[in-house]
Each structure stands twice: as C-alpha cells, then as structure tokens.
C-alpha cells in the first residue's frame, strides 16, 4: 500500500508517457527565442500552444520596465500586501486596470487561478448560491469549493438552463452569483453573453465573467467579450489574468460595486500569499500600455486566428465552433491526441494535448493558440504540418490537388509517432 495508490488511474497514464522521448505533460524548452520560436532538445520549434496572444513576452518596452523595476525594488516583495505592505507598482497597476475597464475598483492577485479563488470564495458566503457554467475552468470550480456557498452548475452556454436553475432558487434566501467565461479555454467558444445577461437580470443575480482568454483579444479596445457584446454595465465583476495576452503572471478583478475594497481584508487567497514581484508588476503595466496603444496587435491576432482556423477546417479537421485564437482539433481518443502531438513536435511544431476531465464532454483535444506575433508563413507552415500528420494518422481525407494554396507541404518527411 502506498499513499499514492489512490492515483493509480493517473499513474498508469503518466508512466506510459514517461517512457517516450516527448511527454506533453513534462516538456521543457531549452531556450525561448521569441514569442513564436523555441529550442527543445537542441531543435528549432515553432510555438503554437503558448497563450501568448499578443506576443508581448519579448516586447522591448516590457522587458525594459521589468529590468528597471528589479534594479530599483529588488527581486521579490518577500511578503503579502496585507502583512508586509504594497509597493507603489501594485497600486499603480490597480489604477491602470480600473482606468482601462472604466471601473471604480481593481484588485491584483498573484495568479489568475488565485483571482478566481479570492473572488468566488469570498463574495458568495454561507447562504449564497454560485451558479457556474458547466465548462468553467478548474480555478472557478476550486474557488467555489473553497467558499461556503451552495454551488450548482448550468449547461454550458445555455441561457434557458440558467433561467431554470435561477427559477428553482427563487424565494430561497441568499444572493445568487452566476459565473461564466468570455472565451472558454478548451474549445475557444464564447459565451452567449447578451442572452445570459438578460437571464441574470431577470433572476436578480450578480454576474462574474472570467475574461482570461478574451482580454486583449475581443472588444473594440481589448477589454474582452463584455465590451464586444456591449453589456459591460450588466457585468458586476470581471476577473482576468496577466499570463496570457499580457505575457506575465498574476490575476485581477475589477468592479463598480461599492464596498469592493473590503475584499482586501476578507479574501484569504489575496491576504495569505506573497504579492507579485516588482519586475512582474512593471512588465504587466508596460504590457497593458502596449495592449491599449497598439490595436493593430489585436487585428493581427484575429487575422492569424482566422487563417489557422480556416486552414484546418478546409483540411477536414473537426474544430471548436468559432475562429478565436484558441483553435482545438477534436481527436478520436487520447492515444491519437498523443500520437498527433508527438508527430507535430518531431516535425518542429509545439501544440498542447488536453484530456478529460479538463475538457468538456470527454473530448480529447489537440489544442493550439495563435499569437499576433505569428507570421503568415508560420501559420501556413503549421497548417501544412497538420495536413501531413492528419493524413498519416488517417484523420482527414487525402490531399486535393491545388497548387499554390497556403497549405503546401513543407520539405521533409513526417514520421508518425507511436509507430
């Protein structure tokens, strides 16, 4: 008997992967050359699975601010903001976020995961109700479980089901808080926000939207789905992360609800964690400035996403329902997903494998994410590699002959993993 016997089902899968040259859950990059290129085991790899939507990780202004901050303030804060004090950078970043969203209040957390923990576990108390979209991220489920509210889920993106669940709660004491996401991280689909807002309003509930994957991606100024759908006034809390479009690490929540500031002394995941280091804060503030001042990045990202999505649809892959920067190909089973992933990596393309229960409906996914930093040539090269591996694995029909299309095969032979 071992302490880890309870993980037997996971251990079998993990051991099976450990024997392989490449393990999707344990891959290491030797060097990151740019937002779209890295070295793995001495080989040049095109990155298509990093969530680096705007490519700001290597922006000279962002890096410059981080270096200056580390020189002026040191490598870390060595404590939490409540116990050990905030730095000026934390306060400035919160003001910048509040200004960006046009809201009164903003709070910064040390990760996006903790932002959901810190908000959901705190705003919904013992006699309140959290109603989650069924496809919510693990941090939303975990944040809900950390608190004392009653938690139920509604069918993914189904306003009628949300209405039914709010109706069942009618007359029950306590506040009702609905939690959804802007872009869902596995299939890249967006929430039907206008319809959900209508239901939320009729049911007298509060609404939290996690814009982790839609900040800097959707909306006229990049504020996310709520801006794109013109319903920001009906969204009570926006949660997000710095680790995707802003290229850093950390999370935040913005709101207009009076009394919001009390969360600083009530939210345990905020109070009992070391605050973000000065370099991360400075880099994030600089990246937010880039996001606001360079709308072309967003346009380029959208164009790249459509190019990849369109290319893979044309090849016959089954994808998520919308051409957003998360493009996931649905695989018949986990084994095929691993084989596909390994073949792509051997051909020089890095993607992600996503498996249940992290995925909806038990789907095995070969997940990719596009960056504004990708060139047209890089996207086309990725599509060509998908074509070769997809055909080698028998997942898509064989090539139709059309010369000069963007999906021309690159040089070199594709070897199929798991042979």
């Amino acid at each position: 008997m071992s302490l880890f016997d309870k993980f037997a089902h996971l251990s079998d899968v993990y051991r099976g992967l450990e024997g392989r040259r490449f393990n999707p859950f344990n891959i290491a990059f030797d060097v990151i050359l740019s937002p779209t290129e890295a070295m793995i085991k001495g080989r040049h790899i095109l990155l298509l699975g990093t969530n680096n939507y705007l490519g700001l990780t290597h922006d000279p202004a962002v890096i410059g601010e981080a270096i200056e901050a580390i020189r002026n303030f040191g490598s870390g804060t060595t404590g939490s903001r409540i116990a050990n004090g905030s730095y000026d950078g934390h306060m400035q970043l919160e003001r910048a976020l509040a200004d960006f969203y046009g809201r009164k209040f903003a709070m910064v957390f040390s990760t996006g995961y903790q932002a959901n923990l810190g908000i959901l576990a705190t705003i919904a108390g013992k006699n309140d109700h959290l109603i989650l979209d069924a496809d919510s991220h693990a941090s939303i489920y975990d944040g809900s479980r950390l608190g004392h509210a009653q938690v139920t889920r509604f069918r993914h993106n189904d306003p009628d089901d949300l209405a039914r669940r709010l109706r069942r709660l009618a007359g029950t004491p306590g506040d009702k808080v609905v939690v959804i996401e802007g872009i869902y991280s596995m299939l890249g689909d967006t929430a039907p926000l206008r319809e959900l807002v209508q239901v939320k309003r009729e049911g007298g509930a509060y609404l939290v939207i996690d814009e982790a994957h839609s900040l800097g991606v959707l909306g006229e100024t990049g504020r996310g789905l709520a801006e794109a759908e013109d319903v920001e006034a009906d969204v009570d809390f926006i949660v997000g992360t710095f680790s995707k479009s802003l290229g850093g690490v950390g999370g935040f929540c913005v709101s207009d609800l009076d009394g919001f500031e009390v969360l600083r002394v009530a939210s345990r995941p905020y109070m009992f964690t070391a605050s973000l280091p000065p370099s991360v804060i400075a880099a994030t503030a600089a990246a937010l400035h880039q996001l606001r001042s360079r709308p072309n990045l967003r346009r380029q990202l959208t164009e790249n996403a459509k190019r990849l999505y369109g290319g893979l649809v044309d090849l016959g892959f089954h994808l998520g329902p919308e051409p957003n920067p998360i493009v996931s190909a649905i695989m018949p089973d986990p084994e095929t997903a691993f084989a596909f992933w390994t073949s792509l990596l051997q051909a020089g393309l890095y993607t992600n494998v996503s498996l249940p229960p992290a995925t909806p409906r038990g789907l095995a996914l070969l997940r990719t994410s596009v960056s504004a930093a990708h060139t047209r040539h890089q996207i086309d090269h990725a599509v060509a590699l998908f074509a070769q591996v997809g055909r080698a694995l028998g997942l898509i029909p064989h090539a139709r002959v059309h010369r000069g299309t963007p999906h021309e095969a690159p040089e070199g032979k594709i070897s199929v993993a798991g042979e």
């Binding site: 069924a134 069942r168 249940p356 229960p357």
Partner: protein, 83 residues
C-alpha cells in the same frame, strides 16, 4: 426504501443506464466512480440529466458525497422532498 417503482429511483437508474450504455449491471451497491469508470465531470454531467428530469438542482458538495447508486437515489429523494 428500495421500491423499484419509486419514480426517483427509476429516473436515476434510467439515466445511469443511458450514460453507461448498459455496459454494467446496476444495483444500489454499484460504486459510481470505481465500477462505472466515470470521472468527476462525467458524474456531474449525468447528474445534470437527472436534475432536468426531476426539476431539482443538486449542489456539488452533495454530488461529492455520493459513492454508490443507492447514495444517489437517497440524495435525489432528499432534495426532491425539499423542493
């Protein structure tokens, strides 16, 4: 307690049979995780089917307590009684 004509019990068994495509013989003692091979999300998904058919919402902490099919029947009966 184990009245086979109990409508709540019938809904639970029907839904589970559909979710597992009849692959496993079900009884009150059947362990949902170990014997039916369902992960946490799959369990929440089939509970959702039961919720719809009985017009009851099941809080996640109540789902977490369920181990056997009999537990699930008891939980649903309890919540339906309250509704």
């Amino acid at each position: 307690m184990n009245d086979p004509d109990d409508p709540v019990r019938m809904v639970v068994f029907d839904t589970l049979r559909a979710s597992t495509r009849g692959a496993v013989e079900l009884s009150d003692q059947t362990n949902i995780v170990n014997e039916l091979g369902l992960d946490s999300v799959a369990i929440m998904d089939f509970v959702m089917e039961i919720e719809d058919r009985l017009d009851v919402s099941v809080p996640l902490d109540r789902i977490a307590e369920v181990e056997t099919v009999g537990d699930l029947v008891a939980t649903m009966r309890d919540l339906e009684g309250k509704g």
